[in-house]
């Protein structure tokens, strides 16, 4: 993704487009997943087209300007790059659960943890956040239910805000309680700083090695084609 951000030549963009297309086909993701990107990209295209394509010479006002072909090409390349970045991230989030993303990040922190113990704390923080957020959402939903059971939700915005504020205090208290419980659970399971290692159950398969090879070839090609 970092390489993608630095690409300036059409050859690199074409190569990445083919890679993305290949991944979409291999990932068997439905095209409707990408539909929501269209409107955003149209607006971004208009913005880039106008900002890079409409030029005016020094001393003239903006409405005295004209369209520049090179500017429009530059805008098109910029948009192309954005399309590829959006496509890649959408594809990634469609085929990788947040849980796996967290574990993956934690796994890649492993070598770093050998040098800096705090890196493993950061990895643990990531996985705990992934667990803690749904827990707090669950608690918030119960509080919301409790409020609904107490009577009609007011129609006036002012009263709604005031009612919402009243729920923040119990939610805060519950969150603190849960955080304390979490800390106790960590202690009870023998965790101490720098100790966390994520557990990846699957053995590396031939597909994983092929994937790594493809990424290496793709990366090197991007560096060459730029």
């Amino acid at each position: 993704m970092s390489l993608l951000m630095t690409m300036t030549e059409w050859q690199g963009l074409t190569l990445t487009s083919f890679v993305l297309l290949g991944l979409i086909i291999l990932g068997r993701t439905p095209l409707r997943l990408y539909r929501s990107m269209v409107m955003i990209l149209v607006w971004m295209g208009l913005f880039y087209g106008l900002s890079a394509g409409w030029v005016w010479s020094e001393g003239n006002t903006v409405w005295q300007g004209h369209w520049s072909i090179s500017g429009l090409i530059q805008a098109a390349e910029l948009l192309w790059r954005v399309v590829l970045i959006f496509g890649m991230t959408r594809l990634y989030s469609a085929v990788t659960r947040p849980l796996e993303q967290g574990l993956g990040i934690a796994y890649f922190f492993n070598p770093l943890a050998r040098i800096i113990p705090k890196a493993s704390d950061f990895a643990l923080l990531l996985t705990l956040t992934l667990r803690f957020i749904p827990l707090i959402v669950e608690e918030a939903l119960i509080l919301w239910k409790v409020r609904l059971l107490k009577g009609e939700w007011p129609s006036s915005w002012l009263k709604r805000v005031s009612e919402g504020m009243q729920l923040i205090v119990p939610l805060l208290l519950l969150s603190l309680k849960r955080a304390e419980e979490l800390a106790e659970n960590l202690t009870a399971r023998g965790y101490w700083s720098g100790k966390y290692r994520p557990l990846i159950l699957q053995d590396r398969s031939i597909e994983d090695y092929v994937g790594v090879l493809v990424i290496v070839i793709w990366g090197v090609s991007l560096l060459v084609l730029g």
Binding site: V146, L149, K150, G151, E181, G190, K195, R197, L201
Partner: protein
């Protein structure tokens, strides 16, 4: 030969909660610890686990009589701790991580851990779910997962702080099997309010007024005559010993709110619904594909709803107050069809007390919680009528301005019940209202419910014995269907079916 360990608790004091607690706990021994809500059981458990430090006294570990100081052993490895709420104890992002977390901290080899994880998952019926988030599991599965994750660390002692109370009989039996397997190597401390469960322990300790007050109440069990409690309404023998219960109850009364003050609840309203008229009617109702129901409830009926965890009991209750709307068929409440436009008008006629309602009180004070929604002026004006309403639930006037989180479990549950009944609903929906409560608190809540004669009650429970005296009918829900609807008098004819579904009876 492996050293036999003993945990010696000597004259432990902590704030004004524990006032000189002493006992010996041997490896391989199962102790049941009983005590009223707020008596300090959980504090004692946390002190034993090293999560708190005692202000006075000592907790010593000996191996074959030789003292082991805490700086020479890993305390978390010696003493495992399992709490009441499995979903709040999960650390791992996946089932595998949950099982491996403690083992990794023990410094085991990653390959060995990986194999062990598969083995452990298989023993608790979670094979193939190793990569799943624990959030996707049922309550029973989560509790088994936490228990096994701790047991895998092979602690010499294991504390279970009401860890089995939320489970149905089947799930509880499943965990008990695991615990008894681990017994030779692991001393266990079961903190519970369940006398049946306590009777399975080797020794019972009762915590009262900050001290262990009953030396060996196990003798009371062995000397007692079982099956003596008779229910006059249904002529049912309940397998709980009255003498024993009274003996133990007398050992730990709740402080502050005696049950005698809640003997009668006066709601002072005339029900507009005629007796025997239909109050609730589900017609071929599909509730979010979790429950399919076609049933009628008459005014004044008391329906006991039982069934295994995740069968759809709570969904049924939530449908009555419009938290879940039918996606097929219809639900009629007090003669009017429940739909989006009628939710608020109809929900006034029914009040739901959620599971663990006491944990989720949103009022600033007890008084504010009960009169939530009233205008500021009316909240300031604490009339005699209003305070006597509180007292009819056994909530003394002095507690009116206390924040709910400072109350004991039993007190909070009473507040939740008082808040629900304040609007004089025609239907009261109760989702396991006695969960986590001691005998005295249970008795006072049951006394409140017994005083509610004119109200229609739907009561969800795992323990049929809670409602046998009061219920008119029993519904058994399994896999999203009401598979049994019988009068309470004939429950024994269906005892096997009920027990197979994990219902305690």
């Amino acid at each position: 030969m492996k050293a036999r360990k003993v945990l010696k608790v000597q004259n432990i004091r902590y704030r004004d909660i524990l006032n000189g607690v002493s006992f010996d706990w041997h490896q391989g021994e199962i102790i049941a610890l009983l005590g009223a809500n707020g008596s300090g059981k959980s504090t004692l458990a946390r002190l034993l686990a090293g999560l708190l430090d005692p202000e006075d006294g000592e907790i010593q570990l000996t191996a074959n009589g030789a003292l082991c100081t805490w700086d020479t052993v890993k305390r978390w490895q010696e003493i495992g701790f399992v709490g009441q709420h499995p979903r709040r104890q999960m650390i791992g992002a996946t089932v595998a991580e949950e099982l491996s977390f403690g083992l990794t901290n023990l410094g085991q080899d990653p390959r060995w851990i990986r194999n062990k994880v598969f083995e452990l998952a298989a023993t608790i019926g979670l094979e193939g779910k190793e990569d799943q988030s624990p959030a996707t599991l049922s309550g029973g599965e989560r509790q088994r997962l936490v228990a096994v994750a701790i047991l895998a660390m092979q602690p010499s002692f294991l504390i279970l702080d009401e860890a089995l109370s939320m489970l149905d009989a089947r799930a509880q039996a499943n965990i008990l099997e695991l615990l008894f397997q681990a017994r030779p190597e692991t001393g266990q401390l079961w903190i519970t309010h369940d006398l049946d469960l306590a009777s399975k322990a080797d020794r019972i300790l009762i915590l009262e007024k900050g001290k262990i007050s009953l030396g060996n109440p196990r003798e009371a069990y062995t000397g007692a005559n079982p099956n003596t409690k008779t229910n006059t309404k249904t002529n049912i023998n309940i397998n709980t010993d009255t003498n024993l219960e009274n003996q133990i109850r007398s050992q730990y009364n709740t402080q502050g709110m005696p049950s005698t003050t809640v003997s009668k609840v006066s709601l002072d309203f005339d029900s507009p619904v005629k007796p025997e008229s239909t109050l609730l009617e589900w017609t071929q109702t599909n509730l979010e594909s979790r429950l399919y129901i076609n049933k009628v409830v008459k005014a004044g009926e008391f329906i006991a709803i039982v069934g295994p965890s995740g069968s759809g009991k709570t969904t049924l209750l939530e449908s009555v107050v419009g938290l879940v709307l039918p996606i097929g068929g219809q639900l009629t409440v007090c003669g009017e069809r429940l739909q989006k436009s009628t939710i608020y008008s109809l929900s006034r006629k029914a009040r739901l007390v959620l599971q663990e309602a006491g944990e989720y009180l949103i009022g600033r004070s007890v008084y504010h919680e009960i009169y939530y929604g009233d205008c500021k002026k009316s909240l300031k004006n604490k009339t005699k009528d209003r305070l006597s309403y509180l007292e009819s639930f056994g909530i003394p006037e002095r507690l009116a301005e206390v924040p709910p989180e400072r109350l004991s479990g039993g007190e909070r549950q009473k507040v939740a019940l008082a808040a629900a009944l304040r609007t004089q609903p025609e239907i009261l929906l109760l989702d396991e209202p006695l969960i986590g409560l001691d005998i005295t608190s249970r008795a006072s809540i049951q006394a409140i419910l017994s005083a509610l004669d004119d109200i229609t009650i739907l009561y969800v429970t795992h323990d049929l014995r809670e409602v046998l005296q009061k219920a008119d009918r029993i519904w058994l829900i399994e896999k999203g269907n009401v598979v049994l609807d019988c009068p309470v008098q004939s429950w024994q004819e269906h005892k096997e079916q009920l027990q197979a579904a994990g219902v305690r009876c």
